[in-house]
Every structure is written in structure tokens, then in C-alpha cells.
């Protein structure tokens, strides 16, 4: 485990040199939040109105949290890196090291995400407080619960994207799969809570990645409930274990198919 923490630390050290780049990324976050702020203010003609169980402020806080989780992730960069590692043969160095590539990828990307999520969270909370002049009712314990759920959401997201990247062992380019995944999370999971979708597909969505990587933590943030917290954490842990097993299986199978020519 110590080696993986060192991988995490090294990536964090690297990213600390690029704090300015992260700050530039804040601009797109602010634009997104500004768009959704206006969109929901337009949809909610009366701020006290409740749609599908959400007040306008809850709705905007929901988007603030889901956008923090998605924008701090840098999923496209991760998928591209794994695809490149596999296709260019750079993975060879990782294979000759005494660690597992799946865990290496996870901890290395957590190192990239940690600083980003910390800085974007500060920005998101500031934007929410400035524009909404209200903060969801949360105790210290529930804040810790939300943080745990957010950490699990990010971890699951990284493992799922790692799985997509590892598909490169079997096909030429896995990036289109990432495109589909990102659109699913962005359009379906980030903007609207599950309750906004037809009742018939809600149970399916509960088992989809959307529930564990965006809906779960955001819902806990806007409307914390102990029963819901336990349910979400259990589902997240099960999801993480299964995703890790699948990632390991794909890697195990893929390495046997590896075809590194020349040099």
C-alpha cells in the first residue's frame, strides 16, 4: 500500500507545479454554473416552488456538486493516457515494475484529482453561497458523510474510466466508449437528478454508474438522510469492488494479448 501512496504523492507533487493551469480551468466551471443558475431560475418561476422534490436552491446546489465531481476528474485525460500507454507500448515499463497497473492508474489519477477537487470545491461553495445566499442544512457528521461519498464517487469514476481505457488491449481506439460514458454522466447524471426521469427507468438508473458517481453524493449534499447515506455508501462500495474486479480481469486478459512491436 505504501508504494501506491507514494505514487499518489508523486502525482500530487507534479500537479502542485501546475496550480495556475487548474485555476484557468475554473473559468469553464464558473460558466457552467452560471448557465445552470439562469436555466433553473427560468424554470422555477417561483423560488419556493418544489419540482420533483427539489427546491430551486437544492437544484442549483445539486448541479454545483455534480459539476465539482465531474470537472475535477479529468476523465478524458485519464482515458487517453491509458489508451496511449497500451497502444504506444509505454505500458511496458509499468509491466516490469512490482505494482499492478490498475492500482497504479487509480492512485496516480487520484493524485491529479485531489488538488483539483479541493480547489473547485472551494470555488463551487463560494459561488453557491454568493448566488443563493443559503447553504444546505448539514451537520459536521453529515458533511463527513458527503465527503466520504464524494471520495468513493471519484474513485469509482476513475476505475470505470480505467476499464474503458483498458479496452484498448482489444480494440484500436477506446476513446469513443469514453465519449459515450462522458455524455451519459454529463447529460443524464450531472444536470438532472434521477427523480426527473420517467418512473419506469428510474430503477435502471439506480443501478447505473450515474447513481454512484454523481446522483448519490449530490443528493446527500442537498438533502442528507442517514438511511439514504447508508444505502448510497453500500451501493458505492459494492460498485467499487465489482469495478475493480472487472478492471483487474480486463488487464489480466489484455496483458496476455499485448502486442508491442519494435524497439
Amino acid at each position: 500500500m505504501k508504494k501506491y501512496l507514494y505514487i499518489f504523492q508523486s502525482e500530487l507533487m507534479t500537479n502542485l507545479q501546475y496550480t495556475f493551469d487548474i485555476l484557468v480551468g475554473f473559468v469553464s466551471y464558473c460558466i457552467m454554473i452560471f448557465i445552470f443558475l439562469n436555466l433553473w431560475q427560468y424554470i422555477y418561476s417561483d423560488p419556493s416552488e418544489v419540482i420533483k422534490g427539489y427546491t430551486m436552491n437544492q437544484m442549483i446546489w445539486y448541479v454545483i456538486v455534480t459539476e465539482i465531481l465531474w470537472m475535477s476528474l479529468g476523465g478524458r485525460k485519464l482515458c487517453k493516457k491509458i489508451c496511449n500507454d497500451v497502444r504506444s507500448g509505454n505500458i511496458t515499463y509499468n509491466i516490469t515494475k512490482p505494482y499492478n497497473y490498475v492500482e497504479y492508474s487509480l492512485f496516480s489519477h487520484l493524485g491529479i484529482t485531489t488538488l483539483k477537487i479541493f480547489l473547485i470545491t472551494i470555488l463551487g461553495m463560494l459561488l453557491g453561497i454568493v448566488f443563493l445566499k443559503e447553504f444546505p442544512k448539514l451537520t459536521i457528521l453529515s458533511v463527513l458523510g458527503v465527503l466520504l461519498s464524494c471520495a468513493l464517487a471519484t474513485t469509482i469514476n476513475i476505475v470505470l474510466i480505467t476499464i474503458i481505457g483498458l479496452i484498448s488491449f482489444f480494440i484500436e481506439d477506446a476513446n469513443p466508449f469514453f465519449w459515450l460514458y462522458s455524455k451519459l454522466i454529463l447529460v443524464v447524471g450531472t444536470i438532472f437528478p434521477i427523480e426527473f426521469f420517467p418512473k419506469a427507468i428510474q430503477p435502471i438508473m439506480k443501478y447505473s454508474p450515474i447513481y454512484v458517481v454523481s446522483y448519490g453524493p449530490a443528493k446527500l449534499f442537498v438533502d442528507f438522510d442517514t438511511h439514504r447515506f447508508i444505502e448510497i455508501i453500500i451501493i458505492q462500495v459494492i460498485y467499487l469492488i465489482i469495478a475493480l474486479l472487472i478492471a483487474h480481469l480486463i488487464y489480466w486478459k489484455g496483458v496476455r494479448k499485448l502486442n508491442v512491436n519494435g524497439g
Binding site: I7, S10, N90, T92, P98, N259, G263
Partner: protein, 326 residues
């Protein structure tokens, strides 16, 4: 004692083939066709502890594929590999603690970190206690003369400095076997020479077994006592460097400066390579003619200067490659 044993190793690659043009692209999409490339064909050899061997061959000969199988990166189709008592396909993680790899065309260092931070990182990866890593870094810093750029981010280092750091990163865990895959590629002659001296010094200090692949004949000549030449997936020669140089082709080169112009024609066993003004360059095949025959032919009284040398290793290797192609 053999640290590497390879027995009847083979590896095939499946490569997609496409007919030319748009029609070919559609055909390939509907019904893809594949060619089987036999990259490594039934090779066997052993490497002794502390040996520095060159594993060479033309592009596509199968040398990198063989090295990748020995390090556990690629899985062989058939045959057996034993590296330090481990089967790389089954005990890859355990073997990783015992071997080091440097691929000249790939990067293993974290480019935004300094060499020192990189070495600490590799120490942690190999579960080496902090104090021990510090001691090792200090030792290798001196051996590889890294002092002046120890705290400069790797991205700002020259290629030569980076390669030195790559090698050090591979030595942090004191590997028993070091695989160097074209470590001097792209370096200038001065830096190449420096890297060679350092590799030699490392081999002497730590008794590390080195398996080297390179297209640079000087690397092989100056570092290795044994050479394995691979061509078209097969071993075409496995011999000592000395034997390779002096016996394999059995040829000598005579450079002579004459008082007067000599008009010579090639005869059996003596081939005229160059005849310009008063200078002559002959290649003597010692199986057919002796050196004295060649000198007699030149007439020693007409000679100002003479130099007899071996055929350059580069030429010998090219000949072996060509023989393998036949």
C-alpha cells in the same frame, strides 16, 4: 551459474492485412484478414551471472520481442524461460524486484519531478526502506556523476543526462539482471562513451548481469564479451566477441602507401577495396591467401607505410545479417 535460461522460445504476432484502396478498406472491415508473423522461432541460450552480452540483430529480427518475453512483458507462444529461477509469465511481480529495464525509446521517469524525487519514488515502489534508498542514491549519484542536475526537473535535462538518470532509476533496487534496450539511441558520441564507461563501471562494482541490445556496434564492441546475433527470429550466431572479430570472417584489411603507383587487379583471396593515387586498401581472405602473399603482391620495396587491421565489426555484423537473409 546461469541466471537466464531460454529454451525453444517462440512467439508469433497476428497482424491485420488490408488490400489497397477504399475497396480494400471495406473488404477488411467486412472480413478482416490476418497474417501470422513469426517474430521469434525456437531460440535457446543461457546467460551466466555477471556476463555482459549483446543481443543484436537488424530491425524486426526479434531481439526486442525476446527481451520483452524475458522481462515478462510479452507472453511466449511456446518454450521455456527461466530468469533468476522465476518464470516471467507466472512470477512477473517477484521477478520485477530482481531485474531492471531501460528502454532507450521509452521514458520511465516522472518528467516534472527532479531525479532525486524520482529515485525516492522508485525506492518506494521496490519497498526499500528510506535510509537504504538515501544511501543508494548517494552511491549512484557519485558513480553516475549526477551531482550538478540532481535537483533539476527531468524535463529540463539533456538526453544524455536523462538516460543516466533512467539507468540509475533502474539500479535503485540493486537488480541482479539489467536489460538495456538501445540505451544510447540518439546520443552524441561523447555522451555515448560516457554512458558506456558508466555501464562498465556498474557491471564491475555490482556484478550486475547485463543484456544489451543496440544498433551501435561501438556499444557492443566496448561493453560486451559475448554476442548473440538474431535474424528473422532465429539465433544466427552465439559467440564471444573475440571469436567473432578474429575467426568468424577470417579477413584482414591492409592499408598501404606506395612510392609509385601500382596497378593491381583483384585475385582470389585478395580484394582491392580502394586504389587512389599512391594509396591502396586490400581485403585479404586468410582462408585463401596469407598476409605475406598480399605484401609480396604489393612489393615491399615500393612501400612507404603499411597498416594491417581487422575487418570493422560493423562490416562483420552486416555480413552475418546478410547471410541470415539468404
Amino acid at each position: 551459474m546461469a541466471v537466464i535460461t531460454v529454451e525453444n522460445l517462440s512467439k508469433n504476432f497476428k497482424v491485420k492485412v488490408k488490400e489497397k484502396g477504399l475497396k480494400g478498406s471495406f473488404k477488411s472491415f467486412v472480413k478482416p484478414k490476418y497474417n501470422i508473423i513469426k517474430a521469434v522461432k525456437n531460440i535457446s541460450f543461457e546467460v551466466e551471472k555477471g556476463e555482459m552480452i549483446a543481443f543484436i540483430g537488424p530491425n524486426g529480427a526479434g531481439k526486442s520481442t525476446s527481451i520483452k518475453m524475458m522481462t515478462g512483458i510479452l507472453f511466449p507462444d511456446s518454450g521455456k524461460i527461466d530468469v533468476l529461477g522465476y518464470d516471467p509469465t507466472k512470477n512477473r511481480r517477484k521477478l520485477a524486484y530482481e531485474i531492471g529495464c531501460v528502454f532507450g525509446q521509452k521514458e520511465q521517469l516522472w518528467t516534472h519531478l527532479t531525479p532525486y524525487d524520482n529515485f525516492k519514488f522508485f525506492g518506494a515502489i521496490y519497498d526499500i526502506p528510506g535510509k537504504q534508498v538515501e544511501k543508494k542514491i548517494e552511491e549512484l549519484r557519485e558513480l553516475f556523476e549526477l551531482e550538478e542536475f540532481m535537483n533539476t526537473p527531468v524535463r529540463n535535462l539533456s538526453l544524455g543526462q536523462r538516460i543516466r538518470c533512467e539507468i540509475v532509476a533502474s539500479l535503485i533496487h540493486e537488480p541482479k539482471v539489467l536489460f538495456l534496450d538501445e540505451p544510447t539511441i540518439g546520443l552524441d558520441p561523447v555522451v555515448k562513451e560516457k554512458i558506456r564507461t558508466l555501464i562498465k563501471r556498474m557491471n564491475k562494482e555490482y556484478k550486475t548481469t547485463v543484456v544489451l541490445t543496440s544498433h551501435d556496434v561501438s556499444d557492443i564492441e566496448k561493453l560486451c564479451k559475448r554476442v548473440i546475433i538474431v535474424n528473422k527470429g532465429q539465433i544466427v550466431l552465439d559467440d564471444t566477441m573475440e571469436n567473432l572479430k578474429y575467426h568468424y570472417l577470417n579477413k584482414k584489411i591492409i592499408d598501404a602507401k606506395m612510392k609509385e603507383k601500382v596497378n593491381l587487379d583483384s585475385v582470389e583471396g585478395i580484394n582491392i577495396l580502394k586504389d587512389k593515387d599512391y594509396n591502396l586498401k586490400l581485403e585479404v581472405d586468410l582462408k585463401k591467401k596469407s598476409i605475406s602473399d598480399a605484401i609480396k603482391l604489393l612489393n615491399p620495396d615500393n612501400m612507404i607505410d603499411i597498416n594491417i587491421s581487422n575487418v570493422p565489426l560493423e562490416q562483420i555484423i552486416s555480413e552475418i545479417y546478410k547471410d541470415g537473409d539468404k
